[in-house]
Symmetry: C2
Subunit: 456 residues, 2 copies
Amino acid sequence: MTKTPYKIYLNEDEMPKTWHNIKAVMKELPSPFIHPATLKPCSADELNQVFCSELVEQELNTTDEYIEIPEGIREFYKMYRPSPLVRAYCLERLLDTPAEIYYKFEGTNTSGSHKLNSAAAQVYYAQKQGLTSLTTETGAGQWGTALAMACAYYNIDLSVYMVKVSAEQKPYRKAVIETYGGKVIPSPSNTTAAGKKILAENPDTGGSLGCAISEAMEVAMQTDNCRYVLGSVLDHVLLHQSVIGEETKTACDKYDIQPDIIIGCAGGGSNYGGLIAPFIGDKINGTSNIEFIAVEPVSCPSLTRGKYAFDFGDTGQTTPLMKMYTLGSGFMPSPNHAGGLRYHGMSPIISKLYDDGYLSARAVEQTKVFDAATMFARCEGTLPAPESAHALQVAIEEALKCKETGEKKTILFGLTGTGYFDLSAYMSYNEGSMTDYVPTDEDLEKGFASLPKVEL
Amino acid sequence: MTKTPYKIYLNEDEMPKTWHNIKAVMKELPSPFIHPATLKPCSADELNQVFCSELVEQELNTTDEYIEIPEGIREFYKMYRPSPLVRAYCLERLLDTPAEIYYKFEGTNTSGSHKLNSAAAQVYYAQKQGLTSLTTETGAGQWGTALAMACAYYNIDLSVYMVKVSAEQKPYRKAVIETYGGKVIPSPSNTTAAGKKILAENPDTGGSLGCAISEAMEVAMQTDNCRYVLGSVLDHVLLHQSVIGEETKTACDKYDIQPDIIIGCAGGGSNYGGLIAPFIGDKINGTSNIEFIAVEPVSCPSLTRGKYAFDFGDTGQTTPLMKMYTLGSGFMPSPNHAGGLRYHGMSPIISKLYDDGYLSARAVEQTKVFDAATMFARCEGTLPAPESAHALQVAIEEALKCKETGEKKTILFGLTGTGYFDLSAYMSYNEGSMTDYVPTDEDLEKGFASLPKVEL
């Protein structure tokens, strides 16, 4: 048999023409969004006030397994996709494992991550609906960058509410967003009532993601032809990210690669949901035995130590309630946690699949994650994003198990992005000043105390 | 006819197995290196004291048109190559030009540029020769990063003398090099006689590339099993970069793409030399009419305003003399010049081809370069390195000429890297504070005054 190439790139005519809707293959569906005032499921009309209507349709679609990717989005995808499926030959050699290791690498576009897959779709639909502007929030800046790229392409105005302390600490992220024509507003700001209120109470605050979300949503609701967009957690975001899984499946089929384990990092859950979309159906219907592992930081362990409960999506407690694994919207990981995956909750789809036992979860410490990232960079060349290196760390753990048992498993993981904008974290790792943080049970109880008291 | 895909990736078995030696197809050769003390051509023995012996052989090889890429380097190349040949459909649409525009994109690896192509080769040969460590200098940091990646892979120690002011202004570049295990020494340093001397005279100096070269060379000469490596200008570096051109040629032949114009930015000249290597031979022997354009900044115009003369390669005047287009090793572009291409001279091969009329040169202003870079980022997605955007700017000029004349030319340019580490320059452009610098004739005369007074 021919040796698998280092990198598998699909031809343009092999690229997916449809997204894969996980909900259509689930035996039981996640609970619908609940309106916090009425405690009734949110209607499409209610969601339409905040989101583009086509995205709301996708959010509520539980029946169509395949949803067409419009030509206008496929043209955008062709600029930076297909992403490569890479055989990690050098890592295999270094670990001296009989396992085969593959990773799907989403970091070759300028935004540096998979976020662009959903940004492109969301902005395309906004343009189609005749909207002229969008708002969003960004913390680390990956989502803001991806959205700015898509808005530049589709000619839509963009306002990014960027957590003030991030905007100050990461001027280069701000510069990229501005190069693509996006407007960056450090949050809290004087441009919204929510921002003004917080500034009046605490003029020196560095801001928070919760506040930035409130500001972005307020502007979207009060501006004509404007909507708010979100980069993870929601079902339609997972749907768009299924382009990752669809490409992976086609590449695997083409080269007769049959994964035994599929691993991904999970913050909000969208990249992992997208990666597993074409594989999980057979697990659910009992025809496949693939092991699915979602990886999260020990410092923000929503799946491994959270509760499966209705919770708000934001710390400001303004969104509909979603049933998900959560640490409570009031939970904040320690500031010494460097690399992403800081969200208190988890995608309702991933949460449900986990609760139903179709996938497992593992929490890893950040110093181990940076050990893995550095080892990977040195042998495979690519500098991983800290988020992505969570998945890498578990892939290494599994490959080393194979070394012990002699099993020749096929391990596939998602390498969602590059670490170019995370170098301050690499610096603290290189200097030996990086530490680990494991929340105590008391820390978690404080977060759980913020869960809404609802009876449903 | 089928539409050309957005991105052409060669299959692994189509990747080049040989480099392309331009000198073997030149009618007249560039002058050999001259020893500044004896004014005689440098012998292989003399060069072997500084460089790996296999690299010296390649440097002096004027007869073999194809030189095999060793299996050990081809394995490294497979980790990050082939690089895509991209059809710039979106740019074509935006410019409304009948021209077809293609670019060969070298920015998808972690070093962010083409530099890795020669770093891999140079470190491989060092390892093969039994060397245990290498030294080099770096200014902006691209070369240092590429070399650190290659040294991590081939397990060779690396000391990078980084211009002190760069090391301070670009802590993230330093962090990447250190993540790959390279040692970064801000220059001038106390580790060398050259550094100590400069520090004694001027304790507060921010350093210079000339000083960093002197320090790196001193350490290489005085350390067992150690050599100095250089990232551009030299013939063997152009040879390694011909992997860019070879891939491009194969992709063009596969899709019946016949370039009318081939454009590249030229600082030291290695990427452009590599890109044109498989195309220039037919121009020299009169069977092709391709127009070749090397692009440089108006602020450092070695081809368009320099002299064709023997000059030192470094500002410290320690290297052999090379006949090249040069502004004099004492020439320093204004500090307001942001993006690379600051070298006072030009590759002897490119200089000779230019002097013989096989290629032309054009100088562009940096604000125009950033106009082009921003336009490109917004429509094609990728954020270009400022260096690469010099070539882009001329590609746009040529495409707009086609719009005027109605000619359907095929324009190919090299996009050598990404702008992730150049965001301070993008910031000053975004803020409107970027200016242009055109050296006066007097400025140039000062540089020419540093040319060595040799009669050959």
